[in-house]
Amino acid sequence: MSDRFETHEHDVLIIGAGGAGLRAAIEALGQGASVGVVCKSLLGKAHTVMAEGGIAAAMANVDAADDWRTHFRDTMRGGKMLNNWRMAQIHAQEAPDCVRELEHWGALFDRTDNGQILQRAFGGHTYKRLCHVGDRTGLEMIRTLQDRGVQMGFDVYMECTVTRLLKDGDRVAGAFGYWREQGRFVVFKAKSVVIATGGIGKAWPITSNSWEYTGDGMALAYEAGAALMDMEFVQFHPTGMVWPPGVQGILVTEAVRGEGGILRNKTGERFMERYDPQRMELSTRDVVARAIYTEVREGRGTEHGGAYLDISHKPAEYVKRKLPSMYHQFLELADVDITKRPMEVGPTCHYMMGGIRVDAETAQSTLSGLFAAGEAAAGLHGANRLGGNSLSDLLVFGRRAGLAAAKHASSTPAPSVDSAQIDQAERDALEPFQRKDGESPYAVHRDLQDSMQKLVGIFRNKEDLQRSLGEIDKLKQRLKRISVEGSRLYNPGWHLALDLKSMLAVSEAVALSALAREESRGAHSRIDFQNLDPAWGARNNIIGREGEAMRLRQEKVLETPGELKQILAEGK
């Protein structure tokens, strides 16, 4: 073990302090494990803080007919049956208890008249199912988890980025990273590592995601030899802001539609009647996003290339109470009073259904000792995620990952790490400083985003996808010529240069998987293969590493057992 670096040892190391990471940490602590949590930002700033609409859980507080079976069915149908059925079942069954537990830890939700947790309607959910607090559910969730974790006593390493997983033979042994503030390196030794690093939206220019969403966790797992799955399924949320330019992509919560918001094109037509007359605005996200995109492409878009979303028919006080952040967001950033005028909205890159392939019961990846939960993991959502199913995913599988990681740690001897891996990680991280007058990381990032937006967007075709792989190859070459200016002290140019490596790896996995899947399913729409293909419906795309090359193969989707098939066949 190299002792040149600051070193910390834990039973369980958790990478990511969003809902999934914090929930995992709490569970592992409860098992008596020593737990370290690493995150790129300050504690409490992870993406989860931004979640607005709510947590999906079949509590049946508003619609008494709801139960886990219906939630299971909705999730599988939303995911176009590509989901891991067992994850969908566990999720639907355990979500209500996870929400109650959160409440007992101090989270406060909006209430029904008889004092229970209030639930609202959301796209693709048969019943009113989303537990919420106004439109800042994620903030309530992250504060509750954060405070509980802090009191239970985890060690938090904030503003610290992991750039490499360390291994001991075939199992994971820890991680290598740098402190963003001072630029010093740090080594973590751990028996179990949980990846809870969230998504990949920053590979696209128009996105609801923050700078953190560079796909690090997936890239780290891939590099270490774990399998990724379903990488072609990138969710474009139908309603992001489109104007003014600086706010393009910022999310307009689905709760606007949940509360009765109506979509219209520039002629005033309620166009969802043509795309999904039954569910209208509350159709699944893939359908609504494609509808808006199509309206715009066919010349019926608004002035700034979007659709109108109108909630002004509701009483102003109601709108301000149920959607306070949306009200302020539009007033302050776009000069629009949404209680009086419609918003302009368009699709924005939002959520990654694919990710690290995990076991449903334990959230363990295909690499021993490496676990994954939350947006970084794949399986629960299949080809398309329903709104609200992410926050519940974080609680249900965060808990399971923490539990399994702690158990694994208790039955495993301490790993050892050879210093060669660490030396290599250090060299890789410092490389951009060795060159002078090379490429700017900002320019390479911009070009990657442009290429992903143009070639790997909502509608895809073979030619574009092939071209995108060529572009990614060129960008990889340019990455090798990047140089950064300044010192290691809080240097965003350097940070971006390192993040780009992850972004390029996940972008390649997305393009490769999208090219292979010659059909349209959920969030993956091929212009050249517009229909569902049952053969593809039985296959997941799996990405793995062979030497330096990325390899794609297919595996059969897990067969849903008979009694659950029955549930899927019921209902409309």
Partner: protein, 248 residues
């Protein structure tokens, strides 16, 4: 296209000075957009903290033209463009680099606050009006702008004796939680030094979440401290009845 002139602080713990940059204006542009433009085109290692760019995470705090603000919510077209716009780090916290400050003190204070503790036998039936009452405090995004302006911290640097408005808001969110049964009056009085606050309301003025920090959190908490220490009987009655919102 119109141009804006920025004076951005460049420096670290050892000191620094403003650097002038010019950025082209775009419709609806916010200060954080301008800083990103500078990073991409002029100063690649300009240190800026941000996350959501939507006013939700409280990462991007700085002093714009001398006023503490979230840079992602400060519109360029709301600032006078005939003179340079100054962008400086929060003054009450040590500078790490450029606009990034060391706010770790806040996390240490937070640790001292006893967590939510459900009242024994609580049945978890809660009325909406009781949720609404504490909502305000739980909206806090921890931007620390209130900490930055409060003179007890800014001018007098009493970080050892005083918790600051952010943590009065947090305590209020716990104390007025309809199910909470703990008392934090002793903590408020001693460790958090609520007595040092002389109700200047500067914190309330800068809060981007419009939390009425002074009127709705600090003053009721001060009363609670007085009650508990000088009228323990009244406090006991309240605890037993579970009526914690006795101010209204």
């Amino acid at each position: 296209m119109a141009e804006a002139i920025l004076q951005i602080f460049r420096g670290d713990a050892k000191g620094g000075a403003a650097k002038e940059c010019r950025v082209p204006m775009a419709p609806g542009m916010v200060v954080l957009d301008a800083l990103h433009y500078v990073q991409a085109h002029q100063i690649p290692d300009l240190a800026v903290r941000w996350n959501c760019k939507a006013g939700k995470c409280g990462s991007c705090s700085a002093e714009v033209n001398g006023r503490p603000r979230l840079t992602c919510k400060t519109r360029m077209d709301a600032l006078p463009l005939d003179k340079p716009i100054t962008i400086f780090p929060m003054k009450s916290f040590p500078v790490i680099k450029d606009l990034v400050t060391d706010v770790s003190w806040n996390f240490r204070i937070n640790k001292k606050i006893p967590p939510f503790q459900p009242r024994p036998g609580a049945d978890w039936k809660i009325e909406q009006k009781d949720v609404d009452r504490v909502q305000e405090f739980r909206k806090c995004i921890e931007c620390f702008l209130c900490q930055n302006v409060c003179h007890v911290l800014r001018e007098h640097d009493k970080k050892e004796e005083f918790g600051g408005p952010r943590f009065f808001v947090r305590v209020a969110g716990l104390e007025m939680h309809p199910m909470d049964g703990a008392s934090r009056a002793g903590l408020l009085r001693k460790e958090l030094g609520i007595g040092l606050c002389n109700i200047t309301k500067c914190c309330t003025e800068v809060c981007p979440e419009d939390i009425h920090i002074t009127d709705n959190a600090i003053i009721p908490l001060k009363e609670r401290v007085v009650d508990e220490f000088y009228d323990p009987l009244l406090m006991l009655v309240r605890k037993i009845r579970g009526v914690k919102q006795s101010q209204d």
